[in-house]
């Protein structure tokens, strides 16, 4: 057996290990993506939990704004009922829109605007929205990495075997594009 042949066999073995590494990297990226989404879910849940307190305060001062409150309650229910990531993304957009309308209510009711609990909730929700925006960017970056890797050789050979497909990005919904900024309503 010549040295060249032995070297070739060793190189093939190493290539085999590299392909194992490629498979592992695809699995790792998929898990990164799932983790990034779960981290968004955490913030959505936190925002979701603030809503009952917000509704309670508004009902005290602005009980005639039933239309806006109902939209918020419906958005919250839609989030609970959402099963897939796509449905959750949509429900999140609807909730952001409903929240911004609720915050705008504060402009019409000075007693509400000066209420400490209401102001604290506004600030809390605003901070959560900022965190949500950052985490969405992060999620989109992991999705882009995953989708790019799926399309590359040799990862594309494993994608079919693992049942992996390109994942959708967390895009801004049409309702969110038209929503007024929370910061504008708070006069910041």
């Amino acid at each position: 057996m010549s040295l060249a042949l032995i070297f070739l066999i060793v190189v093939l073995i190493i290539i085999g290990f590299v392909l194992v590494g490629a498979y592992n990297s695809l699995v790792g990226l998929k898990n990164q993506m799932d983790r990034a989404w779960a981290n968004i879910d955490v913030v959505l849940k936190q925002r979701f939990d603030e809503i009952p307190s917000l509704i309670e305060i508004i009902e005290q001062f602005a009980k005639y704004e039933k239309d806006i409150l109902n939209k918020l309650i419906l958005a919250r229910q839609n989030y609970v009922g959402a099963k897939s990531n796509g449905e959750k993304m949509q429900a999140s957009g609807e909730m952001s829109r409903a929240l911004s309308q609720v915050v705008a209510v504060g402009e019409n009711y000075p007693e509400l605007k000066s209420n400490n609990n209401f102001v604290q909730l506004q600030n809390r929700i605003s901070a959560l929205e900022e965190t949500l925006a950052d985490r969405r960017e992060l999620f989109n970056e992991t999705v882009t990495n995953f989708n790019t890797r799926l399309a590359q050789i040799p990862y594309t050979f494993f994608a079919g075997a693992l049942g992996y497909q390109s994942a959708p990005l967390f895009t801004v919904t049409e309702t969110e594009k038209t929503k007024p900024s929370l910061k504008m309503n708070l006069g910041i």
């Binding site: 190493i14 983790r35 955490v42």
Partner: protein, 312 residues
Amino acid sequence: MLSAEEIKAILIIPALAGGSIFAGFRMLSSARRIRDTPTSRIQSAAQGQIEFQGYAWPADAVIKRPNGQPCVHYWWSVERYEKRGKNSRWVSIFSETSQALPFLIVDETAAAFVESQKCDVKTICEIRKWNQLNDSEKKFFSDFVGSKINGFPPLTGLFGLFMQTYRICENHIPIGSPLFAFGHFETPADYPLEVESPGLNHFISRILRLKGSHATRLSLLDSDRDGKISHSEMTRGYHLAALSSLSKSENVQLKNPFRIQGKLTSTPDVSAKIHIGDQDQALRSLRLAWLWLAIGAAVASFYVYYLIRLLR
């Protein structure tokens, strides 16, 4: 019957090949992990494996090098040149590592503690011979080492010619240096902490100004007037911004104090790394992975060939 030399070769060569291949795969795995982890803003960082891009800032008192340069991380060692014919080399005879204190990595949104004792921190290394130091630096090192080392500090003048040669190796991260951090992020129970530091706020506002328009950067940083901002000019800009911010009064109450969101550390699964610069510079040291794999493959092939010849 195999000779002693042949037995040694049979044992040592696979260890070298295995070690080289293992090192190569480990580097590839590290590089892939760093590349696949997206960069987070500190303000909204999630718990677990994370990657930050920020700047170095002291967590408490500023550490200063003997030449007065402020740092967030600093350690040094004294080396002596030992003449042993073909085996002559520099040997470390004293090192001071007690200043590996936690420091902060800050970005435009928040800050995080870096537990430097638990992280692999890559620093700037400056090596200077004893006669290249100024008087105050010599005094600093001499006072610190004291009488612990025979023959140190070396004499100057004619007598110094007959003494052994010493050099000082300094490892540091200057304040304001751009940092790339990879590791495990956690937010303990009493966090986030508020940092009332006008200096830090001023530094961040300076950074945002530097990152603003290209015209601003050219006017502030283009020292050689070539119309381009080199990496060293940009780094110098960050250091100058940090130095000017350090002198800001600490008695001013801030409207929006900075927050320390948590700490970056290592766990059994995630080994934290801190590099000066950005992700590309952090990955630069891992580019040798393929070289190690190639060396390992070559040594392994030779070993198998050697073994076959031996056993025939």
